[in-house]
Symmetry: C2
Subunit: 360 residues, 2 copies
């Protein structure tokens, strides 16, 4: 079958050029006569892969020198425990903003290791908005404040990053890292599962301000200790080397494209195509309105479950894949991460127009 447009929320589309390069050198990495999967993680070749990936990520996100970049395993779900285990240094208190299922899981895990206060929540409306944040709401004694910048399931994004003063801000950026520009200096720690904008699943990127590490609780497993990974340059044990290599290819692809600001502009245009259609449609409706709308995940619904199902089925037959929404929201969701070309969004909008015509 010809390649299709894949609107999956994650694991998600990977740039075609990246897959083609990986395919080309799958059995012979740069003349080594081996696959990159077969190369020792201590070898010169892999060291270069790792160092280049880090350097390119630093360039893309403009990461200051006093932040460390880690390539880990275990997904954001492991970070839900690693963050409190490492950052509960002084008061073992943290403020969390609850903007969806992933925030909730992060909160549940942190509660097991200290005192968690949920300072704001959008739980009352199935998380279809970002609650109002007022900078005075944060506990100045807290060890950190935690947010989820983009909420994959509900299609919301913080329109502004809260100012938490001297309290470090921790962000789960899994679903919009590299999709829009952020000032890393506003954060104490950023983490992201790779499987949306970075590469294949099985890799987690952590960007941590150096002075936040080194204070892990005694009960922290070695593999959950940021300082251990900092001291060993992400090679305390064997890293997920193929996933790091793929991430490196994605970073190069993004640099060649012009970087995060360029892709953010493209992403905003892609999202606008969809939202504009949705806002003018008499049949389709976006579930999120206003400035909290995500430019990565666009959930939308039709007037009945029958129509939702019909749409998902017919779109799939037309090569527009994985548009089913999360069960808590229902309807559809188009995830339009960096690797989704403008043509894919145009094809989706065209299909929606046709669907509206024949089902009104």
């Amino acid at each position: 079958m010809a390649r299709i447009y894949n609107f999956s929320a994650g694991p998600a589309a990977i740039p075609k050029a990246v897959l083609e390069k990986a395919k080309y050198e799958l059995l012979d990495f740069k003349g080594a006569g081996m696959s990159v999967m077969e190369i020792s993680h201590r070898s010169r070749e892999f060291t270069e892969v790792l160092e280049r990936a880090e350097a390119n990520l630093r360039t893309l996100m403009n990461i200051p020198d006093h932040y460390k970049v880690l390539f880990l395993q275990g997904g954001a779900s492991s970070q839900f425990a690693m963050v409190p285990l490492n950052l509960f240094g002084k008061t073992k208190k943290a403020d969390y903003i609850n903007t969806g299922q992933w925030s909730k899981k992060a909160i549940a895990e942190a509660k097991r290791f200290g005192t968690v206060r949920v300072v704001a929540s959008s739980d009352d409306k199935v998380f279809n908005y970002i609650p109002e944040i007022n900078n005075g709401m944060f506990d100045p004694e807290a060890d950190y404040v935690h947010i989820t910048t983009n909420n994959t399931i509900y299609g919301t994004t913080f329109p502004e990053i809260p100012d938490t003063g001297k309290v470090p801000l921790v962000a789960d950026m899994s679903s919009n890292i590299l999709g829009q520009a952020y000032d890393v200096r506003k954060f104490g720690l950023i983490y992201a599962g790779a499987q949306k904008n970075i590469g294949p699943a099985g890799l987690t990127v952590v960007i941590i301000r150096e002075n936040l590490a080194g204070k892990a609780m005694d009960i922290t497993p070695v593999m959950f200790n940021y300082q251990i990974h900092i001291d060993n340059g992400s090679r305390y044990n064997t890293p997920p080397s193929f996933a790091v290599y793929m991430a490196g290819l994605v970073f190069e692809w993004l640099i060649n494209l012009g970087g995060v600001k360029v892709i953010e502009k493209i992403n905003r245009e892609k999202a606008a195509l969809l939202y504009d259609f949705l806002d003018n449609s008499k049949l389709f409706r976006a579930t999120v309105s206003g400035p909290d709308r995500s430019i990565m995940n666009v959930p939308f619904i039709l007037p009945s479950d029958e129509l939702n199902e019909k749409f998902i089925r017919e779109a799939s037959e037309d090569g527009l894949k994985t548009l089913k929404g999360h069960r808590t929201v229902g309807g559809m969701r188009a995830s339009i991460y960096n690797a989704m070309p403008r043509e894919g969004v145009l094809a989706l909008v065209e299909f929606m127009k046709k669907f509206e015509l024949s089902n009104s």
Copy 2:
């Protein structure tokens, strides 16, 4: 460059046929129009990948139904903490046998969560043998006994699996799982990093007797809790899907080859070719003797550091790659896992013969 023979200890060689299949379908997995890396881990397609991988591993290792198979992240190093965090249920006491660097790391991590007794060790001779085990040496009150079946760095293997009676035996089988046949029933829990005999780094296989799970200590992070992964069929969060897919291809390759007993026979023949040469050489010497010799990792030395270096350099020029031994043993190490064809070992032995002739 033509493909070479890769004697790396891990990440290690992957069967060429497996890499070729992965390459063939890298951009279009079974007609889905997407890479297997881009497919949702909840999709029908990936469910099939995961279920088939598990079924094939069960066939290969003859895993009884009351054992669960998990595909996790974090490597054996994460298991060093997961094992005590989950198995310290009654007395928080465990007996460990210290046969090398990985045993030592497992011991250090377990000590942080309970009482560890090292019942036998080969530390006195740079771990070049397996200490004598007598079944009476184990504490019947211990929550478990831990061994490392094959010691990658030192080239030793337990010639017999200790009988620990009613105390569950836990084995780090990272470097010889699927390379030789074991009776899973002798173990309470088996774990293995993938990057030797299973597939690419970033995947950890755990085989756990059902009744050992569900008793994790309160401080156990959710992602370190076996029961969570059992309840969610290894999909509590996004699994390392490409690594699981690759492992599945390796399992299929091994089944087509005839299974573990067949490959064990081949592995024993491969190892015998090397050991026979080493035992008859006047220049080369194996660092391990007797029944403790590993059939996966064969360390050997030459009379001087200069000769070791010369050998490694010239072998590499001849396409025999990554033969440098671990710094704690020195000299050379040939890792001849399942994916190393007999031809590779023959080529190495031929090269050693020539080297001996011209350097004696």
